[in-house]
């Protein structure tokens, strides 16, 4: 079972929910937690696992070999991302626009654009009491998150085969990163808050997940602030609300110290139990 914890709006509690659910579930089953918010992964703040493996991740971009080039300009004509430009007698490669499709490199008649490896950042795999935790962190200056997300998912597929529940802490929003992080998930749990902003971005996330034919449910955080429009929306749209967590100062205090909640706050534990029951009823296992 691959469960994506996503949201439209940032700061609704994806990480808090993902981490606490992972630890809660790890008491009874093998769980893998993947932090796919590679631009700013922060699940690790709440975990104290032991580093098992560290791996640098790369992606291939072409590098221009001036001496081999005959300046035919094919590379520039065929790049659909405008990442290769012919400027007079110079071929300029824009690595940040390159999607690593190899077209220019493969179709260059003179092999003047060999692919070279460009660092994206690091993947780190930790272990903690039956929980496998993997986070990937993008290097400063790297603009494209999707290759890092894809490689992190591939790593989990290959290296953490034993986990029967995979929880993904996804990036916020509805952009390419989110699509990559949720595309092959079995289920998406969308975290929101009961405010107009929360509802607006939730509806965008719902629309996105429906495009992907993804079954969804909602968790509502900080109930007590805002209004009940989010609940009315979910009812009207036929989206199950798996859990609602009351707005609670104690949660904020624990969170600010980087502590876990499921083992200290009753309402959180109840919520995790409700979510875990729902997951299990979906087929529980694989």
């Amino acid at each position: 079972m691959k469960l994506a914890i996503a949201s439209g709006k940032g700061g609704t509690g994806k990480t808090t929910l993902a981490v606490n659910l992972a630890l809660y579930a790890a008491a009874t089953r093998r769980v893998a937690l993947l932090d796919l918010d590679v631009e700013e992964p922060n699940s690790g703040i709440f975990l104290k696992g032991k580093l098992k493996r560290e791996k640098q991740l790369f992606r291939a971009v072409p590098e221009w070999k001036k001496e081999a080039c005959i300046l035919c300009g094919k590379c520039s004509e065929l790049c659909r991302f405008n990442a290769v430009l012919k400027l007079g007698k110079h071929i300029l490669v824009m690595p940040e626009l390159c999607h690593s499709c190899y077209a220019c490199s493969e179709l260059c008649p003179e092999n003047a654009l060999p692919m070279t490896q460009k660092s994206l950042g690091f993947l780190r795999h930790y272990e903690q009491d039956g929980l496998d935790f993997v986070e990937s962190k993008m290097e400063i200056g790297v603009e494209m998150a999707t290759p890092l997300i894809e490689q992190t998912l591939a790593y989990a597929e290959a290296e953490i085969a034993g986990a029967d529940l995979q929880i993904r802490d996804c990036p916020p929003g509805t952009s390419c990163s989110v699509i990559n992080a949720t595309r092959d998930a079995d289920f998406a749990l969308l975290v929101t808050e009961p405010t107009p902003f929360g509802l607006h971005d939730l509806s965008l996330a719902v629309e996105t997940m429906r495009h992907l034919d993804k079954p969804i449910a909602v968790a509502v955080n900080r109930v007590g602030i805002g209004n009940d429009d989010v609940f009315r929306y979910c009812e009207a749209e036929g989206i199950p609300v798996w859990a609602s967590f009351p707005h609670d100062r104690r949660v904020a205090e624990l969170y600010s110290r980087g502590e876990t909640l499921y083992d200290k706050v009753d309402s959180i534990r109840t919520g995790m139990d409700a979510i875990h029951t729902q997951i299990s009823s979906l087929g529980g296992g694989k």
């Binding site: 659909r80 991302f81 405008n82 430009l85 400027l87 007079g88 110079h90 300029l92 824009m94 626009l97």
Partner: protein, 113 residues
Amino acid sequence: MIIAFTSKGTDWDSKMDPRFGRTDYILFYNEDTQELSHLDNREVADQAHGVGPKTAQKLFERGAQVLITGNGPGGNAAEALKQMELKIFVGAGEMTVREAYEAYQRGQLAQGA
């Protein structure tokens, strides 16, 4: 000297287009021959990424030495434009092409990166 303008139309009375990469047209004025020609750039509208560098490539191919525009090119386009000897003047986004050219001649436009 060939001067390039980002514009909404194809003649001197057209409004300038403040955008660089996604400008509708690029007008080229050759000061030596006093010829005004244009290039339809609207094909880039469907492209999600990298239109700035692509537009820069078009300037390069036409041998422009001066660019007069509105907001100025973004980071990727600026990277491509660095490869050529090009003086960039910004702040003409609200003018007509004629007004922009006159302002440039009077030295009233700020030089951009």
